[in-house]
Symmetry: D2
Subunit: 496 residues, 4 copies
């Protein structure tokens, strides 16, 4: 297993075309725009060596029996699923940010299951290829970007019906030695600091969309790949001083990038799905469920930081004991722990799949994520309430360091006298940046938008069975109106 | 283990002073006001004999190794805690009501732990007495009412400061052979159909309140006990026809009663706490946590029935496929499963206690109940939305059976033509009664009011640790303002 | 103008076929099931004679210049609309209930406008007929039931497509002297204690549904009319003592009834629409808007009572000064006043119509009602929170009067010692009944279900204009994609 | 009346010490950090000359009878109050931002009332001084910064009890010709582009705090004043290209600044309160109520832009007709119009004060603002939901213009093919920046934090009267427990 510095070193060796702010970035490890995200990901390596946490951060490979970083593990029990959640909360607490590595982790687990199913049906060799790739990942401890979201163009049209056929990643050529792919993946968390890109389709696909039913792993330095780093809230603050960043070491989100595949070649041994369109949907669903499981882990860890920051500013403001402040801290805690409950329960209720690995309860995993799209915002709103208006009007660190206005800030922005002004300002900056748009949107749309969760919940709500319960208690004999929800699946699909 | 009919028979033999509607009830098994509650409790006996469910509804006694009804079990693992939750959801689904037996179950488990702690400190014999009582309960399978809530008079005053000292149950005499107690317990779920009443104090107590620090078990036919059955929403409908009751077999709530102890005598072997005031608080907290664990079990089972009823009326109304209807059913499901997550997680995260039994995670258990005080209302509101105005204006069953107006109702209150009018009316009545005040209030105040949960959450939020996380990330050196939350415990107490 | 007693007397003279609980009711004034609703309506007569309130409760007829009860008035200014709202809040506060008379009031105003429009198009005489009827109503001060809601059968089918063509009121015969109608109206607030029934269609209608496009006024004693009184929460308590009713004098809801028209004859001078199907929609919309205006009046008055009851029980419990109690009372007040704001604003923003009368702002009126379907539930939930569990478990008044258990209740159910036990129990019963299903459902579905308001808001949201604002600020030139929301109206309709 | 360019010109002539990002700003009109805020304020000047809007944007001075900019007007009727709200919504729609000028407007109106009251009590001359200052403001049309919020240090301590006595603005010297003041005001909206600073105390004051009971107007170029411009979300984007700013012309918030008064001299004719501590509270309350009135005006105008932007991105994404999208747009509209209702109603219910001017209904004004602290966040959350993840991950404008990666962005970030990619990206940037922390916090804490509104609502809830309503209906005779809420005012104060 690598440690954080070895991880950084390995990234320095990896030459790719990464762009940001209209310029090429040579070294993502040291560039101020990307460094915090590398640091956050590095924490997944460092904590695997921390004896306090190794029960969470490492696992035993079912392939080799060796100790591996948990982020490369295939879940072998509900307990593994629970440990994943706890590891993610731990990392959220340590970084206050997104450490990115769950995406590839979830992609590997989803593909482990689905390649098995495809092989069962078609006698293909995807599962053994995937196992080989997995063994490589476990041995080298490389970071894998799970790449699912296509740009999608007009959301009302299927991939092959788009005006531009490249708006979903597709196979443009099938060769003897492999395939050539074109398209792009957006919102790629950890995209610029992963060693491998693990591509999966982003939606259920029909037969006419078979060329879009493609999954593969490509090294990040594969010719034809270009990485365009996304903007974040207040990202330019990374280019100046430290204090205004709020969380200067780890930043706030995953460092999302757009990855372009401009006729990139992938050899067959790295191809895990190639045209089996009917498996796109289960793959998307499994990946989504695994990924939705996470939000009551990592985001609760980040919420712990935000709750702590809110408690701290209340203290610095002298109001820690006001009943309405305490009540808001209770509410923040309540919401955070409710999210955590969801992640824990969808994990402890996990079940074995045909491949022998373990899968979360998908209904419960979807409630996890749907709650996140609400509670995170409410937690942020309460933090704003407690923090006061200064998070919106505080002058810059440069002003604080300025000989004329700095002393005014020191004097007038002091809270309770026993605390230094700068401590107060630092925690305000932390709160400000923990609740910015990038951070919120990651909770809203990461692992799929709320409507995707609603459709999944509808499919799994088992309304027919519940109607029978109601009928029995109300004294209603078997009715004559036919099956209870004949057209619901169609309806759900129509609205997706 | 008794079955339902044996349970009913045992109740018929138990002679007590039960009053309702200003008259004495001779036989709670057959009296229309109490019968549904007996039926619901009887289900806890019947399902213990149903081979489909015995992994949930029975357990192996750690005292005797015998198969016992789970409601008499002391939890021996997190898995036991999880099974408890699933058993409760099952029973909620089967009855659509409160089956009452969890209160004594939780009382036994809480006392099992706290008597152990008292004995550790004082070398008393409470724990072995409790074990003897437990063995009796497991062997005879009697139903135990866990009696905690005192009338409380002026909530701003401690027990001994009340104008009337009897407003909390207290020891009025200590005799050689036992104690004499006076007072009352209110909101006693299953009170009129339990064999035993297991009394516990209702609040933390100071030294001056030592006479209120009393716990004991009394057979329901102990001289000096009087039971006054409480009113419920629409309770008079039980005295007439069947349809308007909605859930005629099982009713809607626990059949709560007020139990008066008018100088009742309790022999020492049934006394489990007698003056050790400092253990009142841990007992209340443990009982409360075990009891709060339940609400994402039983109430989710009931919610399953309500969701089914809502889906059914949508179907009968011809709107099952309207997008806004589906969306509301999704929301109801989402809220119900979120509650279930909370119960599951506080259970699977349970820990062993000094007594060797297992205890839920108290922070998570409190979030379970606090969410219930919100989500149950919202689920009910959505059911009203879907059901339509008829749940508020539907004429009576007597009108439906009337030769003049009955045919009008049959003709005009039909929904989609393929379903009988009466089926539609029955499900409307089910929804109406599932969302009445009694049912809602049970979710609001059962296991303690929301403020009790908030105080518990505050105590367990560990804000000091969270502040440290925030400081580290914001780059704040150790501050100079002293301990982070010196006065928080005092504040929390002040507001209780 | 009649006073309350004259109103009661007039009802005694009015012989109709009213049924409840499977029996005929001879006199709705004195029958315990209906008396409270008569009392509430009578208050609209009494307050018109109370000099403190006459600026609100009376108006000057624009037809005759005479002083009339405001409930018979056609709005002549925004100020009239505002006074209507304030009158309704006053009556809600005085009765704690529904006083029913707004429905006919709103029906008259809606028809006043729409008959004018029909006449403009078809040179019919509906408007002058309506004015004659109005003059009669103003002179005699009779109570008019505005009858809109049809049973609707299968909601997915238009009136003429139902298996039973009578599921919407329709013209079955056009005769020289008038029309014969068949069908029923449900949820008729004040139906059994109104002198006149003013029928309107309940939905937009196409040409094939022309026979359903019918509006008329029928005296309540018209042959062929049958009234079936609906059940309410706890309605049987009206048949026993007084205390358990909570609000014994006025009850809780409008006393809704189903009215059957079994081939009833209506002379032409009482017919206000007869086949002009395209005017069904504006009539429904205008009536609905006028009716939705009310909910931040009457329901806020009722909320004032509930807030007062919650403050009172807090006082009786000794916790009036607990910070969380105060906070909940603030929240209840905040929600109630927000509703009131909505009603006031949709009124003060009212506009003159072609007929010369004044119409509320329909967008704002819809927000009023939509908020009511949420806030009323939340206000009730908070009242439950403050009240404590006793509203769900309190024994009956008969027990309180019983020689054996009465004294126990007196002793043990006392709150803070300075208040009598019975006062405490009375306010608990008031809270219980103010928050029952009937009361809540009236707020949910009265004046149309939430989805009806959402569709109305969508239609009036003017998204095209708002998109232009966004484009201008974002620097987007005129786009090329055609009209902004071409298909939205169709979509809205599809989902209704 | 000035127009926008004249306003800009006047600012160029005004020399002050303004700092931002650690450097002096010479010209706030042209500096990219401040220009958008100047533009937004300039719109209040320009629209006063726009004949379409002059009924809203201008008024007739009650001092001179001349046509004046409404922002300098003293309200002469409820209609004036309503027009203020509509003017603010108009300006919010036109700018999508904060136009800042309401603060001084509200300060003038509050002081107009309170100076009158002080003079009544003490026979001082504050009111006539204020009228003179008002006449000057109306004649010259200068922009006035209403400066209330002090830094406040330890919130648990009164001004004179702070470790540093300057944490609230105070009189440090009373001279023959005027006073010398020291301290600072924070969160000063429009602070760097106003001509005058109108200072008011920020909290109720006791006698020991008399030196803090000071109100005065100072020209912005008064010696001793220093302005430190606050940071905003993404403020550095103003220094680069245009697109990423989202609303490049007007920005997003008020351009808040901290203003330091380092022993500034104010002549007596500009002093409006000097030691009359008991009037600090009514001044704060009046100012706060006037200011809280606004939030259902300006913020609804901004919400209109955000709703339009959300509708637009839905269209660009091809999902404008998805039912869940329409539902979210309805919800956003519903929430925005509810806020508007609140502002309209607190205005139309305004009352004349002793000074002859008009004052909003303070209870209703407080509900306006309290709703804003919730609804604005929810509207933003829904906008994020509709917009999709790209608002969190979109690469920079510089990338879009880059020869290598620009074409990739053009190709892959296109939505529905009929719209240009850049239009889509522009509206995403608009949504991103409309929902940033600065914009949200302005809605949370502008015009006082939520707790301030709750305390105000509690004071005005009239619970005693409401308890009487409840008692009457429940049949409770006059009770014996003394005044209903003896200690509530004290409690409310304690918690402020």
């Amino acid at each position: 297993m690598m440690n954080g510095d070895e991880y950084r070193e390995s990234l320095r060796r990896l030459k790719r075309d990464v762009y940001a702010f209209g310029a090429r970035i040579d070294d993502v490890v040291d560039h101020p725009l990307t460094r915090p995200h590398v640091n956050a990901a590095a924490m997944t390596y460092d904590l695997a060596h921390d004896p306090r946490y190794q029960d969470l951060t490492t696992a035993t490979s079912h392939l080799t029996g060796r100790r591996i970083n948990r982020f490369t593990h295939i879940h072998q029990s509900p307990d593994d699923l629970v440990r994943k959640v706890k590891m993610m909360r731990l990392l959220g607490r340590e970084t206050g940010s997104c450490f990115q590595r769950c995406v590839g982790f979830d992609g590997l687990n989803a593909l482990y299951n689905v390649t098995y199913l495809i092989d069962q049906k078609y006698e293909t060799a995807y599962h053994s290829r995937l196992r080989s790739f997995l063994a490589y990942v476990q041995d080298t401890d490389v970071m894998v970007d799970g790449a699912m979201t296509d740009p999608k163009g007009n959301r009302a049209l299927a991939p092959s019906k788009q005006a531009d056929p490249d708006l979903y990643v597709r196979i443009v050529e099938r060769r003897e030695d492999g395939i050539v792919v074109r398209g792009a993946k957006v919102h790629q968390t950890g995209g610029i600091n992963s060693h491998e890109v693990l591509v999966m389709p982003t939606t259920a696909l029909g037969e006419e969309d078979s060329d879009y039913a493609v999954s593969f792993a490509a090294p990040a330095d594969t010719p034809g790949l270009t990485f365009i780093f996304g903007r974040q809230t207040n990202d330019e603050r990374k280019l100046g001083g430290e204090m205004d960043q709020g969380n200067p070491r780890f930043g706030f989100v995953g460092g999302e990038a757009m990855i372009v595949f401009d006729d990139a070649f992938v050899p067959w041994e790295r191809v895990f799905m190639c045209g089996e369109h009917e498996f796109a949907r289960p793959l998307v669903e499994m990946f989504a469920s695994f990924h939705r499981q996470n939000y009551g882990g990592c985001k609760v860890g980040v919420a712990d930081v935000l709750i702590g920051a809110a408690a701290l500013i209340a203290r610095y403001n002298g109001v820690a004991d006001a009943s309405h402040i305490r009540d808001k801290l209770v509410e923040m805690t309540h919401l955070a722990e409710t999210l955590h409950n969801c992640s824990l329960a969808c994990s402890s209720e996990g079940q074995m799949t045909p491949s022998g690995s373990f899968y979360v309860d998908p209904l419960l995993a979807n409630t996890t994520k749907l709650n996140t799209t609400r509670f995170t915002y409410e937690i942020g709103r309460l933090a704003h309430d407690i923090a006061g208006g200064l998070i919106g009007t505080l002058p810059s660190e440069k002003d604080l360091r300025h000989p004329v206005v700095g002393p005014y800030m020191q004097k007038y922005l002091r809270g309770a006298a026993e605390f230094p002004t700068e401590d107060r300002l630092r925690v305000l900056r932390l709160i400000e940046n923990l609740t910015g748009v990038s951070a919120l949107v990651e909770c809203m749309h990461g692992a799929g938008s709320p409507q995707a969760q609603r459709i999944a919940i509808y499919r799994q709500a088992n309304l027919a069975e519940k109607m029978e319960l109601a009928k029995r208690l109300a004294g209603i004999a078997d009715d004559v109106g036919g099956p209870a929800s004949s057209s619901t699946a169609a309806s759900a699909k129509r609205d997706a």
